[in-house]
């Protein structure tokens, strides 16, 4: 019953996807659209099969960059948030720059990063970190600082050190917030990797991420494999989001579902 209920909750989502694909296929047939403008879903599937080697390599490279950037942003973001939670002065000093990180137009600074860091995997990871860092810092800092007063009093009463309070009270409280931030960041990480690859791919270096493939296929007017690459990059984002959700429901379960 439980299994059936879980499966049936996915039914509306699957049904909507089927309807969208059917309408897409019908539109292409009815209006006889040229494949360069909009290929049919079947043509996209065909193109995906034909370019499977390039797509697989691209998915590994882009997925790898997105995962590296995501994990780095979790590590760096949590560390910055922990620093911000320890002192008001640090909070005042760092927070404007954290906001700056969010407001900086990544498409505009990506070429600059390419100049500094080269047409490399490292540059892609760097852009990914910049774009996915803010939700982590913001969520974790909020979690570290949103401690109920009576719990803080309890720790103060027992003479807990700053480190004990951070380790035994603030971090466990912030884990739920970290998961919320990580879910947002997981999607942003893929966007960051793809955007960076648009620029890194232009350098003619031997870089073969999905973003590089997309710009190449766009130039050649090969819309079908371009859409296939788009679908795969979306899938990477969905898998990363689902992994965060899975970890929060298994390994981090103790720290979720409070009260």
């Amino acid at each position: 019953m439980g299994m059936w209920m879980r499966l049936s909750s996915w039914l509306p989502t699957v049904l909507l996807a089927v309807i969208v694909v059917a309408v897409w296929q019908a539109t292409v047939w009815i209006y006889a659209l040229p494949p360069i403008l909009l290929p049919s879903p079947l043509a996209v599937l065909d193109a995906a099969w034909e370019t499977r080697d390039e797509l697989t390599r691209g998915a590994v490279v882009t997925g790898g960059a997105a995962i590296c950037g995501f994990l780095l942003s979790i590590t760096v973001g949590t560390a910055i948030a922990a620093l911000m939670s320890q002192s008001r002065m640090l909070r005042l000093a760092l927070y404007p720059y954290v906001i700056l990180l969010q407001t900086v137009p990544i498409v505009a600074i990506a070429p600059l990063l390419v100049i500094w860091s080269g047409y490399t995997f490292r540059t892609v990871v760097l852009v990914t970190v910049i774009i996915s860092l803010f939700p982590i810092i913001n969520s974790v800092a909020a979690g570290l600082l949103a401690i109920p007063q009576d719990r803080l009093d309890l720790f103060r009463l027992y003479g807990a050190s700053r480190l004990q309070t951070l380790w035994r009270l603030r971090i466990p409280t912030a884990i739920g917030h970290l998961v919320v931030g990580a879910k947002t960041s997981s999607g942003l990480a893929v966007i960051g990797a793809i955007v960076a690859e648009f620029f890194v791919g232009n350098g003619g270096a031997n870089y073969s991420g999905l973003g590089t493939l997309m710009t190449g296929w766009q130039t050649l007017g090969r819309t079908a494999p371009l859409i296939a690459a788009l679908c795969i990059s979306t899938l990477i984002g969905v898998i990363m989001f689902a992994t965060v959700e899975l970890i929060s429901r298994s390994l981090l379960r103790r720290w979720m579902n409070h009260d």
């Binding site: 009576d150 719990r151 009093d153 027992y158 003479g159 035994r168 103790r254 579902n257 409070h258």
Partner: protein, 240 residues
């Protein structure tokens, strides 16, 4: 002792609490009961005056324990882990094994079913959570126990059971306790003396000389009824 420069919460509070007694602070909402209790715990510093504890006791060594209005349990820790926390924070030398053993003994003394030891707070009833909270306070064997309306949110049955449990623990190992309460019957039942607090000022103590333990015959006696009326009259008169 005085609190607050602009508007004093407590003013001219001058009282002595004999060691090994349970003392109740009773008074209307906003009269400063919790402020006084927090000051005794060192959670709030008076703008003037002083608090002396003889022999000296420190909360950071577990010698003073505080029971909050809410159980204040950490939701990611099981019942036993919440009790162990007090030992882990107060005594760096205590091993995990010893902390667990002492927490188990304390939870058993608080009559929490063994099956509930490994449950998370959200899986416990309100009464059970408060038993865990009391166990956490008692596990360090404090010489001073401060209770801030700990039973206020409980049903009558749980309130009465926990009150009896507190008295039993006091019989086993007497400690000094200060109980903030709104409940006259609770103050009469649990305390050796009752202080009436009104408008930030403390009145003369009402000394309770009824026999202990407080069994059914004591609670239904005319003397107990008389004590209840004395406290009630003092409250209405402003503690004078």
């Amino acid at each position: 002792m005085r609190f607050g420069a602009a508007s004093a919460v407590l003013q001219g509070v001058d009282c002595e609490i004999p060691a090994g007694e349970i003392v109740s602070l009773i008074g209307p909402s906003g009269c400063g009961k919790t402020t006084l209790l927090r000051a005794l715990a060192g959670l709030q510093t008076p703008t003037s005056g002083q608090i002396a504890i003889d022999p000296p006791a420190r909360a950071s060594r577990g010698e003073i324990a505080f029971v909050f209005q809410q159980p204040t349990l950490l939701p990611w820790r099981t019942a036993i882990e919440n009790v162990m926390l007090a030992l882990q924070l107060c005594d760096a030398a205590v091993s995990k094994h010893e902390a667990r053993q002492r927490a188990e003994a304390e939870l058993a003394a608080m009559e929490l079913p063994t099956a509930a030891f490994a449950r998370f707070p959200r899986e416990l009833s309100g009464g059970m959570r408060m038993r865990v909270s009391l166990a956490r306070a008692m596990v360090t064997q404090p010489s001073v126990l401060l209770l801030d309306e700990p039973f206020a949110a409980l049903d009558d049955l749980s309130r009465s059971a926990l009150g009896e449990l507190l008295l039993r623990r006091w019989d086993e190992r007497p400690f000094t306790a200060v109980l903030v309460t709104h409940n006259i019957a609770e103050a009469a039942l649990l305390s050796h003396r009752v202080f009436i607090l009104k408008a930030g000022q403390i009145g003369a103590a009402i000394v309770d000389d009824l026999p202990r333990p407080r069994n059914e015959s004591v609670r239904t006696s005319a003397e107990f009824g008389g004590l209840y009326r004395r406290i009630s009259a003092a409250l209405q008169a402003g503690g004078s």
